[in-house]
Symmetry: C2
Subunit: 317 residues, 2 copies
DNA sequence: TGCCTGCCATTAAGAGGGCTTATGCTTCGG
DNA sequence: CCGAAGCATAAGCCCTCTTAATGGCAGGCA
């Protein structure tokens, strides 16, 4: 805990501010112009400060005022201090308007957000977009984050959450692997090389088909923690990954990945864009919200086309 | 002429001040105590500042407030800037109360003021007395001087001038020299070694006695500009100096100098203590004024005794 | 010399803003 | 479950600061 340093005996700061301007101009009238007030007000404030200090700060000469030695000694430090304050406030105001910080899970950030973010950046060059990945639920109150992409059930308190897309899990692999293994029916996967077979979602996926006998025991390729890494392996043709196709719409649309078979399960959770509800009117918030919702919609459409052509079956959640 | 740098876009400084205290205490109520206002006022000002910045500076938690990252970035520079302002004002206030700067002609400063000043310093240790010698009439408006000892006719505009003593010119020398040369009558000086005989005051002194024939031509010891230097020579027994006995009352009282003969002339000018009339109520001004007037009075008394015992004649000015 | 202009001080009157008081809300602690 | 701690909010008052008008002073100019 920082020591609550000395109580700071300060002169009236309004007067200090007026003094600073007057000292800079060596002229009350021009200082008044700069500050948007009248010459009389400047005169009044300067006098106030002089009374406080107990000494004259300006010599009133017929056609001009000049600083006394005392005034000169004040002017430098005061100008510097006030400029420092102005600068630091200016910086954070500026930054607040131009910097847009997005928090997201690493998976989403890498697979979905960053490939699309470049376009947003190009379309909105006035913003400086920064992505921060984190595993925990970001707290807008205490962290310097403007918006977030969250994966969860929604209904968080104090924030506006708008759904980007529901989350499904489908078996994905390269078209080549699919062809080579002759995958057609969901049951064909029982003998296919599954990536991260220890993932309980595989069990769920099979169970959803009525295949309860499946067990990862004995079956092995590698076991990878993260969806993105499984997909990387799948992209190399090393096996079939169970992942959210929404996150890999680009790869699917480009033919680098395809649905191994026509079945997917749906997660209770979804992906959301989230921001403090009291900030929904801010320009940068609105802009990014609109953009990311449009992107999500586009991704969904793409996927719907691809899945439709493959006769996907998706049970209701 | 300094460039009237940028117009400094500043937030309301009153709010900044409140913010600084609140940030330091991490507590609105205690900040309010420190600032001598109510918690509601603090809350109000903080909100004002937050609206201005367009972002929260504090997170309101149930039993405490904590700075947001933005607030943290502000707090440091702001505290420093305000402390700088407080410091520089504090310094000059402090200095204004404790430093007493006296301006005087070099002659008076050396011969009269400094021998007495030590006592003032001892009696008033809370003051830091500084003497500045200068040849020109000091301008209280533009120079960092509190009071002055002036030699002149009085009647200066804008200042209070109180007479310390009238100024006379009397021939002074060591008692030894006086004895050796057998000086008794003013006319005896016609054949004595006069110091700075080129000084027109010697002509005036002789003329005052009705001796118009005196001329410095041919008579020479040295010619010295300054009264003090003539006196230094006189103290060495090198001759008779025409100087203001008031300035050398200590030397006369101590027997190091004496009136060579019993005649003096009086100058139109006098010595004054001078200070800006609007500052006459200030403690340090009053204190020094009272002290120096008392010293002058004491010096006059001493001289009167010495001169009386010598039967001095002093024509009216 | 006299007028005009630039610049600051002073005054009285008025308005606006910030402060205070009072009250409500929330949470923590016992 | 109640009290204490702590901040937010609303209403109203008072004080500060501003404004507007006027005066003074000195320099520039004719």
């Amino acid at each position: 805990m920082p020591v609550p340093s000395s109580p700071l005996k300060l002169p009236p700061l309004a007067a200090v501010r007026v003094f600073e301007a007057a000292a800079r101009h060596q002229n009350f009238t021009r200082a008044a112009d700069e500050l948007g007030m009248t010459q009389a007000a400047v005169s009044y404030q300067i006098r106030l400060l002089e009374d406080r200090v107990g000494a004259a700060l300006f010599v009133r000469q017929p056609r001009q005022v000049v600083l006394t030695p005392l005034g000169q000694r004040l002017a430098g430090p005061v100008t510097k201090a006030l400029r420092d304050i102005g600068t630091v406030f200016g910086e954070i105001c500026e930054e607040n308007q131009t910097v847009l910080t997005i928090s997201a899970l690493q998976t989403v950030a890498i697979t979905w957000l960053s490939p699309r973010l470049a376009r947003f950046q190009v379309e909105n060059p006035q913003f400086d977009v920064r992505v921060r990945t984190s595993q925990h639920l970001v707290d807008f109150a205490t962290e310097a984050v403007d918006m977030a992409v969250r994966y969860g059930p929604g209904g968080w308190p104090g924030v506006t959450a708008e759904k980007l897309f529901d989350c499904h899990y489908a078996p994905l692999c390269t078209p080549e692997l699919r062809e080579r293994l002759g995958l057609r029916e969901p049951a064909d996967l029982l003998n296919a090389p599954l990536l991260s077979p220890g993932d309980t979602k595989w069990r769920t996926w099979f169970a959803d088909l009525g295949i309860d006998s499946w067990s990862p025991a004995g079956r092995t390729t590698m076991t990878l923690d993260m969806q993105a890494m499984s997909i990387q392996a799948a992209l190399q043709g090393h096996g079939v990954a169970l992942a959210a196709p929404e996150l890999f719409a680009y790869d699917i649309a480009a033919g680098r990945l395809t649905f191994a078979v026509g079945h997917a399960i749906r997660s209770d959770w979804a992906y959301w864009v989230v921001y403090p509800q009291e900030r929904q009117r801010e320009r940068k918030i609105r802009l990014f919200r609109d953009w990311i919702l449009a992107e999500a919609e586009a991704a969904r459409m793409t996927l719907a086309r691809m899945a439709g052509s493959r006769g996907m079956t998706v049970p209701a959640p």
